[in-house]
Chain length 246, copies 2
Protein backbone atom coordinates (compact mmCIF):
# COMPACT_ATOMS: atom_id res chain seq x y z
CA UNK A 1 0.00 0.00 0.00
CA UNK A 2 1.96 3.03 -1.22
CA UNK A 3 2.31 6.01 1.07
CA UNK A 4 2.61 9.42 -0.54
CA UNK A 5 4.09 12.67 0.71
CA UNK A 6 2.31 15.60 -0.94
CA UNK A 7 3.66 19.14 -0.88
CA UNK A 8 0.73 21.53 -1.01
CA UNK A 9 0.46 25.31 -1.38
CA UNK A 10 -2.71 27.20 -0.59
CA UNK A 11 -4.13 30.66 -0.24
CA UNK A 12 -6.06 30.26 3.01
CA UNK A 13 -8.44 33.17 2.33
CA UNK A 14 -12.07 32.10 2.64
CA UNK A 15 -11.36 28.61 3.98
CA UNK A 16 -12.22 27.48 7.51
CA UNK A 17 -8.61 26.32 7.82
CA UNK A 18 -6.80 23.06 7.15
CA UNK A 19 -9.05 20.85 9.24
CA UNK A 20 -12.52 19.62 8.30
CA UNK A 21 -15.27 21.39 10.23
CA UNK A 22 -19.00 20.91 10.64
CA UNK A 23 -19.52 23.96 8.43
CA UNK A 24 -17.51 25.68 5.74
CA UNK A 25 -14.90 24.56 3.25
CA UNK A 26 -11.60 23.20 4.55
CA UNK A 27 -8.40 22.50 2.68
CA UNK A 28 -8.33 18.98 4.13
CA UNK A 29 -11.87 18.33 2.87
CA UNK A 30 -11.13 19.46 -0.67
CA UNK A 31 -7.86 17.54 -0.80
CA UNK A 32 -9.54 14.37 0.52
CA UNK A 33 -12.23 14.72 -2.15
CA UNK A 34 -9.58 15.06 -4.87
CA UNK A 35 -7.47 12.11 -3.66
CA UNK A 36 -10.57 9.98 -3.03
CA UNK A 37 -11.71 10.52 -6.62
CA UNK A 38 -8.33 9.27 -7.85
CA UNK A 39 -8.35 6.34 -5.45
CA UNK A 40 -11.98 5.33 -6.00
CA UNK A 41 -12.74 5.17 -2.26
CA UNK A 42 -12.74 7.60 0.66
CA UNK A 43 -9.29 8.35 2.01
CA UNK A 44 -8.04 10.50 4.86
CA UNK A 45 -5.08 12.87 4.57
CA UNK A 46 -2.86 14.11 7.39
CA UNK A 47 -1.04 17.46 7.41
CA UNK A 48 2.17 18.42 9.18
CA UNK A 49 0.52 21.53 10.59
CA UNK A 50 -3.21 22.19 10.97
CA UNK A 51 -3.31 25.81 9.88
CA UNK A 52 -6.18 28.01 11.09
CA UNK A 53 -8.78 29.81 8.97
CA UNK A 54 -7.11 32.41 6.74
CA UNK A 55 -3.57 31.06 7.26
CA UNK A 56 -1.61 30.29 4.09
CA UNK A 57 0.88 27.59 3.14
CA UNK A 58 3.75 27.78 0.67
CA UNK A 59 4.68 24.13 1.24
CA UNK A 60 2.45 22.27 3.66
CA UNK A 61 3.29 18.56 3.83
CA UNK A 62 0.51 15.97 3.71
CA UNK A 63 0.67 12.19 3.99
CA UNK A 64 -1.83 9.77 2.50
CA UNK A 65 -2.04 5.99 2.09
CA UNK A 66 -3.27 4.79 -1.30
CA UNK A 67 -4.29 1.28 -2.33
CA UNK A 68 -4.08 1.94 -6.04
CA UNK A 69 -0.65 2.01 -7.55
CA UNK A 70 -0.29 5.35 -9.30
CA UNK A 71 2.87 7.19 -10.26
CA UNK A 72 3.88 10.45 -8.63
CA UNK A 73 3.17 12.65 -11.65
CA UNK A 74 -0.34 11.23 -11.93
CA UNK A 75 -1.06 12.02 -8.29
CA UNK A 76 -0.05 15.65 -8.89
CA UNK A 77 -2.02 16.01 -12.11
CA UNK A 78 -5.17 14.18 -11.01
CA UNK A 79 -5.51 15.99 -7.68
CA UNK A 80 -4.85 19.44 -9.17
CA UNK A 81 -7.45 18.76 -11.86
CA UNK A 82 -10.05 18.45 -9.07
CA UNK A 83 -8.86 21.17 -6.71
CA UNK A 84 -9.72 24.87 -6.91
CA UNK A 85 -6.83 27.10 -8.07
CA UNK A 86 -6.41 28.35 -4.48
CA UNK A 87 -4.94 24.94 -3.59
CA UNK A 88 -2.16 23.30 -5.59
CA UNK A 89 -0.34 20.04 -5.07
CA UNK A 90 3.21 21.05 -5.97
CA UNK A 91 4.81 17.65 -5.61
CA UNK A 92 4.08 14.01 -4.75
CA UNK A 93 6.68 11.45 -3.57
CA UNK A 94 6.23 7.83 -2.72
CA UNK A 95 7.62 7.26 0.77
CA UNK A 96 8.60 4.23 2.86
CA UNK A 97 5.73 2.68 4.86
CA UNK A 98 5.02 4.46 8.09
CA UNK A 99 5.68 7.97 6.84
CA UNK A 100 3.44 10.36 8.77
CA UNK A 101 3.41 14.05 7.85
CA UNK A 102 2.88 15.24 11.42
CA UNK A 103 4.66 12.76 13.65
CA UNK A 104 7.75 12.48 11.46
CA UNK A 105 8.22 16.25 10.98
CA UNK A 106 11.39 17.47 12.65
CA UNK A 107 11.18 21.18 11.83
CA UNK A 108 8.69 23.70 10.60
CA UNK A 109 9.24 27.22 9.41
CA UNK A 110 6.58 29.93 9.60
CA UNK A 111 6.70 33.44 8.18
CA UNK A 112 4.54 36.33 9.33
CA UNK A 113 4.14 39.42 7.11
CA UNK A 114 3.28 42.85 8.51
CA UNK A 115 2.51 45.67 6.03
CA UNK A 116 3.88 48.65 7.94
CA UNK A 117 2.91 51.71 5.96
CA UNK A 118 -0.15 53.95 5.74
CA UNK A 119 -1.86 52.37 2.74
CA UNK A 120 -2.28 48.63 2.21
CA UNK A 121 -1.48 47.65 -1.38
CA UNK A 122 -4.49 46.07 -3.13
CA UNK A 123 -2.19 43.14 -3.90
CA UNK A 124 -1.54 42.51 -0.18
CA UNK A 125 -5.17 42.06 0.87
CA UNK A 126 -5.43 38.87 2.91
CA UNK A 127 -1.68 38.30 2.74
CA UNK A 128 -0.36 40.59 5.46
CA UNK A 129 -1.38 42.26 8.72
CA UNK A 130 -1.82 45.95 8.06
CA UNK A 131 -0.14 47.98 10.83
CA UNK A 132 -0.28 51.46 9.23
CA UNK A 133 1.61 53.25 12.00
CA UNK A 134 3.85 53.86 13.80
CA UNK A 135 6.98 52.73 11.93
CA UNK A 136 7.75 49.60 13.94
CA UNK A 137 11.04 49.45 15.84
CA UNK A 138 12.41 46.42 14.04
CA UNK A 139 15.69 46.33 15.92
CA UNK A 140 13.91 45.99 19.29
CA UNK A 141 11.50 43.45 17.78
CA UNK A 142 14.41 41.35 16.54
CA UNK A 143 16.12 41.47 19.94
CA UNK A 144 12.87 40.35 21.57
CA UNK A 145 12.31 37.67 18.90
CA UNK A 146 15.67 36.06 19.70
CA UNK A 147 14.54 35.50 23.30
CA UNK A 148 12.33 32.70 21.98
CA UNK A 149 15.27 30.75 20.59
CA UNK A 150 16.09 27.60 22.54
CA UNK A 151 13.97 25.14 24.51
CA UNK A 152 11.18 26.78 26.51
CA UNK A 153 7.75 26.16 27.96
CA UNK A 154 5.61 28.25 25.60
CA UNK A 155 2.39 28.14 27.69
CA UNK A 156 2.26 31.95 27.63
CA UNK A 157 1.90 31.91 23.84
CA UNK A 158 -0.68 29.16 23.57
CA UNK A 159 -4.34 29.54 22.55
CA UNK A 160 -6.73 29.59 25.50
CA UNK A 161 -8.22 26.17 26.20
CA UNK A 162 -5.43 24.19 24.52
CA UNK A 163 -4.95 20.70 25.79
CA UNK A 164 -1.49 19.38 24.99
CA UNK A 165 0.73 17.01 26.97
CA UNK A 166 3.54 19.52 27.19
CA UNK A 167 3.97 23.12 26.10
CA UNK A 168 7.72 22.68 25.81
CA UNK A 169 9.02 23.33 22.31
CA UNK A 170 12.42 24.10 20.79
CA UNK A 171 12.79 27.18 18.63
CA UNK A 172 15.85 27.02 16.38
CA UNK A 173 15.64 30.48 14.89
CA UNK A 174 13.41 33.49 15.51
CA UNK A 175 14.17 36.71 13.62
CA UNK A 176 12.58 39.98 12.53
CA UNK A 177 13.76 41.95 9.49
CA UNK A 178 12.40 44.89 7.55
CA UNK A 179 11.93 44.59 3.80
CA UNK A 180 10.26 47.94 3.40
CA UNK A 181 7.31 48.37 3.74
CA UNK A 182 7.03 44.80 5.03
CA UNK A 183 8.23 43.68 8.45
CA UNK A 184 8.94 39.95 8.30
CA UNK A 185 9.03 37.57 11.23
CA UNK A 186 10.45 34.11 10.55
CA UNK A 187 10.52 31.33 13.09
CA UNK A 188 11.79 27.76 12.81
CA UNK A 189 11.12 25.17 15.47
CA UNK A 190 10.56 21.50 16.18
CA UNK A 191 6.87 22.13 16.82
CA UNK A 192 4.39 24.89 17.54
CA UNK A 193 1.44 25.24 19.89
CA UNK A 194 -1.91 26.49 18.66
CA UNK A 195 -1.74 30.28 17.95
CA UNK A 196 1.88 30.33 19.15
CA UNK A 197 3.31 32.20 16.16
CA UNK A 198 0.46 34.72 16.02
CA UNK A 199 0.61 35.27 19.77
CA UNK A 200 4.37 35.88 19.57
CA UNK A 201 3.80 38.31 16.66
CA UNK A 202 1.17 40.23 18.64
CA UNK A 203 3.69 40.52 21.46
CA UNK A 204 6.54 41.59 19.18
CA UNK A 205 4.36 44.28 17.59
CA UNK A 206 3.77 45.74 21.05
CA UNK A 207 7.56 45.92 21.38
CA UNK A 208 7.83 47.48 17.91
CA UNK A 209 5.25 50.12 18.84
CA UNK A 210 7.24 50.97 21.95
CA UNK A 211 4.36 49.82 24.19
CA UNK A 212 6.30 47.00 25.76
CA UNK A 213 9.87 46.43 26.92
CA UNK A 214 12.13 43.63 25.79
CA UNK A 215 12.48 42.59 29.46
CA UNK A 216 8.70 42.14 29.73
CA UNK A 217 8.80 39.67 26.82
CA UNK A 218 11.42 37.65 28.64
CA UNK A 219 9.37 37.80 31.85
CA UNK A 220 6.21 36.89 29.93
CA UNK A 221 7.85 33.80 28.47
CA UNK A 222 9.08 32.71 31.92
CA UNK A 223 5.69 33.35 33.56
CA UNK A 224 3.83 30.61 31.63
CA UNK A 225 0.79 32.87 32.02
CA UNK A 226 -1.39 33.43 28.94
CA UNK A 227 -2.28 36.87 30.29
CA UNK A 228 1.30 38.04 29.76
CA UNK A 229 1.20 37.60 25.97
CA UNK A 230 0.17 40.32 23.56
CA UNK A 231 -2.95 39.98 21.39
CA UNK A 232 -3.07 37.22 18.80
CA UNK A 233 -2.08 38.70 15.43
CA UNK A 234 -4.57 38.14 12.56
CA UNK A 235 -4.39 34.90 10.59
CA UNK A 236 -3.98 36.51 7.16
CA UNK A 237 -0.32 37.46 7.72
CA UNK A 238 0.78 33.90 8.54
CA UNK A 239 2.40 31.49 6.08
CA UNK A 240 3.59 27.94 6.74
CA UNK A 241 6.78 28.08 4.69
CA UNK A 242 8.17 24.54 4.85
CA UNK A 243 8.36 21.34 6.86
CA UNK A 244 11.49 19.26 7.27
CA UNK A 245 11.92 15.53 7.86
CA UNK A 246 14.92 13.42 8.80
Amino acid sequence: MPCFKLTVAYDGTGFVGWQKQARGTSIQGLLEDAVSALEGRRVTVTAAGRTDAGVHALAQVVSVQLERFVDEATVVRATNARLPAAIRVLDAREMPQGFHARFRATRKMYRYRIWNTEILSPFERGRAWHVPSPVLGVSAMDTAARLFEGRHDFSTFQAAGSDVQTAEREVLSSRVVREDPVVLFEITGNGFLRHMVRSIVGTLVEVGRGQRSIASVSEGLASCDRGQAGPTAPAEGLFLVCVEYE
Copy 2:
Protein backbone atom coordinates in the same frame (compact mmCIF):
# COMPACT_ATOMS: atom_id res chain seq x y z
CA MET B 1 -10.79 75.38 -8.74
CA PRO B 2 -8.02 73.03 -7.59
CA CYS B 3 -6.90 70.27 -9.88
CA PHE B 4 -5.64 67.06 -8.29
CA LYS B 5 -3.34 64.35 -9.58
CA LEU B 6 -4.20 61.05 -7.90
CA THR B 7 -1.92 58.02 -8.00
CA VAL B 8 -4.07 54.93 -7.81
CA ALA B 9 -3.27 51.20 -7.45
CA TYR B 10 -5.82 48.50 -8.17
CA ASP B 11 -6.23 44.78 -8.50
CA GLY B 12 -8.28 44.63 -11.70
CA THR B 13 -9.72 41.17 -10.97
CA GLY B 14 -13.52 41.20 -11.20
CA PHE B 15 -13.84 44.75 -12.53
CA VAL B 16 -15.06 45.57 -16.04
CA GLY B 17 -11.92 47.69 -16.43
CA TRP B 18 -11.08 51.33 -15.79
CA GLN B 19 -13.90 52.82 -17.82
CA LYS B 20 -17.55 53.04 -16.80
CA GLN B 21 -19.74 50.57 -18.68
CA ALA B 22 -23.47 49.99 -19.00
CA ARG B 23 -23.06 46.91 -16.79
CA GLY B 24 -20.58 45.84 -14.15
CA THR B 25 -18.34 47.65 -11.72
CA SER B 26 -15.58 49.87 -13.10
CA ILE B 27 -12.66 51.43 -11.29
CA GLN B 28 -13.60 54.83 -12.72
CA GLY B 29 -17.16 54.48 -11.39
CA LEU B 30 -16.05 53.62 -7.86
CA LEU B 31 -13.44 56.37 -7.81
CA GLU B 32 -15.96 58.94 -9.08
CA ASP B 33 -18.38 57.86 -6.34
CA ALA B 34 -15.67 58.29 -3.71
CA VAL B 35 -14.50 61.70 -4.95
CA SER B 36 -18.07 62.90 -5.50
CA ALA B 37 -18.94 62.08 -1.88
CA LEU B 38 -16.01 64.21 -0.74
CA GLU B 39 -16.90 67.03 -3.13
CA GLY B 40 -20.65 66.99 -2.50
CA ARG B 41 -21.52 66.93 -6.22
CA ARG B 42 -20.91 64.54 -9.14
CA VAL B 43 -17.42 64.78 -10.57
CA THR B 44 -15.70 63.05 -13.45
CA VAL B 45 -12.18 61.60 -13.22
CA THR B 46 -9.77 61.00 -16.10
CA ALA B 47 -7.10 58.29 -16.16
CA ALA B 48 -3.79 58.25 -18.02
CA GLY B 49 -4.55 54.81 -19.40
CA ARG B 50 -7.96 53.16 -19.70
CA THR B 51 -7.03 49.64 -18.61
CA ASP B 52 -9.19 46.72 -19.77
CA ALA B 53 -11.14 44.26 -17.60
CA GLY B 54 -8.76 42.26 -15.40
CA VAL B 55 -5.75 44.53 -16.01
CA HIS B 56 -4.01 45.84 -12.88
CA ALA B 57 -2.34 49.11 -11.98
CA LEU B 58 0.51 49.74 -9.58
CA ALA B 59 0.39 53.50 -10.16
CA GLN B 60 -2.33 54.66 -12.52
CA VAL B 61 -2.55 58.46 -12.69
CA VAL B 62 -5.93 60.17 -12.51
CA SER B 63 -6.85 63.86 -12.78
CA VAL B 64 -9.88 65.49 -11.22
CA GLN B 65 -11.11 69.06 -10.80
CA LEU B 66 -12.54 69.88 -7.39
CA GLU B 67 -14.48 72.96 -6.33
CA ARG B 68 -14.01 72.42 -2.61
CA PHE B 69 -10.66 73.32 -1.18
CA VAL B 70 -9.34 70.22 0.56
CA ASP B 71 -5.78 69.34 1.42
CA GLU B 72 -3.94 66.47 -0.23
CA ALA B 73 -3.93 64.17 2.80
CA THR B 74 -7.70 64.57 3.16
CA VAL B 75 -8.26 63.59 -0.46
CA VAL B 76 -6.27 60.38 0.10
CA ARG B 77 -7.99 59.51 3.37
CA ALA B 78 -11.55 60.40 2.34
CA THR B 79 -11.45 58.53 -0.98
CA ASN B 80 -9.82 55.41 0.48
CA ALA B 81 -12.45 55.34 3.25
CA ARG B 82 -15.10 54.92 0.53
CA LEU B 83 -13.25 52.62 -1.87
CA PRO B 84 -13.05 48.82 -1.66
CA ALA B 85 -9.63 47.49 -0.58
CA ALA B 86 -8.97 46.39 -4.20
CA ILE B 87 -8.52 50.07 -5.11
CA ARG B 88 -6.26 52.43 -3.18
CA VAL B 89 -5.42 56.06 -3.72
CA LEU B 90 -1.72 56.07 -2.91
CA ASP B 91 -1.12 59.78 -3.30
CA ALA B 92 -2.85 63.08 -4.13
CA ARG B 93 -1.10 66.24 -5.37
CA GLU B 94 -2.55 69.60 -6.19
CA MET B 95 -1.47 70.53 -9.72
CA PRO B 96 -1.42 73.70 -11.82
CA GLN B 97 -4.64 74.37 -13.74
CA GLY B 98 -4.90 72.48 -16.99
CA PHE B 99 -3.27 69.28 -15.75
CA HIS B 100 -4.82 66.36 -17.61
CA ALA B 101 -3.79 62.80 -16.70
CA ARG B 102 -4.07 61.49 -20.26
CA PHE B 103 -3.08 64.37 -22.53
CA ARG B 104 -0.14 65.50 -20.41
CA ALA B 105 1.36 62.01 -19.96
CA THR B 106 4.70 61.71 -21.71
CA ARG B 107 5.56 58.08 -20.92
CA LYS B 108 3.88 54.98 -19.61
CA MET B 109 5.43 51.77 -18.46
CA TYR B 110 3.63 48.43 -18.58
CA ARG B 111 4.75 45.09 -17.18
CA TYR B 112 3.45 41.71 -18.28
CA ARG B 113 3.97 38.65 -16.07
CA ILE B 114 4.07 35.09 -17.46
CA TRP B 115 4.17 32.20 -14.97
CA ASN B 116 6.28 29.70 -16.91
CA THR B 117 6.24 26.50 -14.93
CA GLU B 118 3.93 23.51 -14.64
CA ILE B 119 1.91 24.55 -11.59
CA LEU B 120 0.48 28.02 -11.04
CA SER B 121 1.06 29.20 -7.47
CA PRO B 122 -2.23 29.91 -5.63
CA PHE B 123 -0.81 33.36 -4.92
CA GLU B 124 -0.45 34.14 -8.64
CA ARG B 125 -4.08 33.54 -9.61
CA GLY B 126 -5.28 36.53 -11.64
CA ARG B 127 -1.82 38.11 -11.57
CA ALA B 128 0.02 36.27 -14.32
CA TRP B 129 -0.58 34.39 -17.55
CA HIS B 130 0.04 30.71 -16.89
CA VAL B 131 2.15 29.21 -19.69
CA PRO B 132 3.03 25.84 -18.12
CA SER B 133 5.25 24.63 -20.95
CA PRO B 134 7.55 24.67 -22.80
CA VAL B 135 10.28 26.63 -21.00
CA LEU B 136 10.11 29.84 -23.02
CA GLY B 137 13.17 30.90 -24.98
CA VAL B 138 13.69 34.19 -23.22
CA SER B 139 16.79 35.18 -25.17
CA ALA B 140 14.88 35.00 -28.49
CA MET B 141 11.91 36.77 -26.92
CA ASP B 142 14.15 39.59 -25.74
CA THR B 143 15.75 39.95 -29.18
CA ALA B 144 12.27 40.11 -30.72
CA ALA B 145 11.06 42.54 -28.04
CA ARG B 146 13.81 45.01 -28.90
CA LEU B 147 12.50 45.23 -32.48
CA PHE B 148 9.63 47.31 -31.11
CA GLU B 149 11.94 50.02 -29.77
CA GLY B 150 11.79 53.25 -31.75
CA ARG B 151 9.04 55.02 -33.64
CA HIS B 152 6.77 52.65 -35.59
CA ASP B 153 3.27 52.29 -36.96
CA PHE B 154 1.85 49.69 -34.56
CA SER B 155 -1.32 48.90 -36.58
CA THR B 156 -0.39 45.20 -36.52
CA PHE B 157 -0.66 45.16 -32.74
CA GLN B 158 -3.89 47.09 -32.38
CA ALA B 159 -7.28 45.72 -31.30
CA ALA B 160 -9.62 44.99 -34.19
CA GLY B 161 -12.03 47.85 -34.85
CA SER B 162 -9.85 50.54 -33.23
CA ASP B 163 -10.39 54.04 -34.53
CA VAL B 164 -7.41 56.27 -33.78
CA GLN B 165 -5.98 59.13 -35.80
CA THR B 166 -2.59 57.50 -36.09
CA ALA B 167 -1.15 54.17 -35.01
CA GLU B 168 2.33 55.64 -34.81
CA ARG B 169 3.84 55.38 -31.33
CA GLU B 170 7.33 55.59 -29.90
CA VAL B 171 8.61 52.75 -27.75
CA LEU B 172 11.55 53.76 -25.58
CA SER B 173 12.35 50.38 -24.09
CA SER B 174 11.03 46.88 -24.66
CA ARG B 175 12.70 44.00 -22.81
CA VAL B 176 12.11 40.42 -21.69
CA VAL B 177 13.85 38.87 -18.69
CA ARG B 178 13.43 35.67 -16.73
CA GLU B 179 12.99 35.86 -12.96
CA ASP B 180 12.33 32.17 -12.55
CA PRO B 181 9.61 30.94 -12.79
CA VAL B 182 8.30 34.28 -14.08
CA VAL B 183 9.06 35.68 -17.53
CA LEU B 184 8.70 39.45 -17.37
CA PHE B 185 8.05 41.76 -20.30
CA GLU B 186 8.48 45.48 -19.65
CA ILE B 187 7.71 48.15 -22.17
CA THR B 188 7.94 51.94 -21.91
CA GLY B 189 6.51 54.22 -24.56
CA ASN B 190 4.94 57.60 -25.22
CA GLY B 191 1.57 55.97 -25.79
CA PHE B 192 -0.07 52.62 -26.45
CA LEU B 193 -2.86 51.45 -28.74
CA ARG B 194 -5.71 49.33 -27.43
CA HIS B 195 -4.47 45.74 -26.75
CA MET B 196 -1.00 46.70 -28.03
CA VAL B 197 0.95 45.30 -25.07
CA ARG B 198 -1.08 42.08 -24.88
CA SER B 199 -0.86 41.59 -28.63
CA ILE B 200 2.92 42.05 -28.53
CA VAL B 201 3.11 39.58 -25.61
CA GLY B 202 1.07 36.98 -27.54
CA THR B 203 3.51 37.39 -30.42
CA LEU B 204 6.59 37.17 -28.19
CA VAL B 205 5.29 33.99 -26.55
CA GLU B 206 5.03 32.42 -30.02
CA VAL B 207 8.72 33.28 -30.44
CA GLY B 208 9.51 31.87 -26.98
CA ARG B 209 7.73 28.62 -27.85
CA GLY B 210 9.81 28.34 -31.03
CA GLN B 211 6.67 28.64 -33.18
CA ARG B 212 7.70 31.87 -34.78
CA SER B 213 10.96 33.39 -36.03
CA ILE B 214 12.36 36.74 -34.95
CA ALA B 215 12.32 37.81 -38.61
CA SER B 216 8.57 37.20 -38.80
CA VAL B 217 8.05 39.61 -35.88
CA SER B 218 9.95 42.27 -37.76
CA GLU B 219 7.97 41.54 -40.93
CA GLY B 220 4.73 41.53 -38.93
CA LEU B 221 5.46 44.97 -37.51
CA ALA B 222 6.27 46.35 -40.97
CA SER B 223 3.16 44.80 -42.56
CA CYS B 224 0.66 46.92 -40.57
CA ASP B 225 -1.63 43.90 -40.89
CA ARG B 226 -3.50 42.76 -37.75
CA GLY B 227 -3.43 39.20 -39.10
CA GLN B 228 0.34 39.07 -38.67
CA ALA B 229 0.20 39.47 -34.86
CA GLY B 230 0.02 36.59 -32.42
CA PRO B 231 -3.03 36.06 -30.19
CA THR B 232 -3.84 38.70 -27.58
CA ALA B 233 -2.40 37.57 -24.23
CA PRO B 234 -4.86 37.43 -21.30
CA ALA B 235 -5.55 40.60 -19.32
CA GLU B 236 -4.62 39.18 -15.92
CA GLY B 237 -0.86 39.29 -16.57
CA LEU B 238 -0.82 43.01 -17.39
CA PHE B 239 0.14 45.79 -14.96
CA LEU B 240 0.26 49.52 -15.63
CA VAL B 241 3.42 50.27 -13.66
CA CYS B 242 3.77 54.06 -13.86
CA VAL B 243 3.02 57.18 -15.85
CA GLU B 244 5.45 60.05 -16.34
CA TYR B 245 4.81 63.75 -16.92
CA GLU B 246 7.07 66.60 -17.95
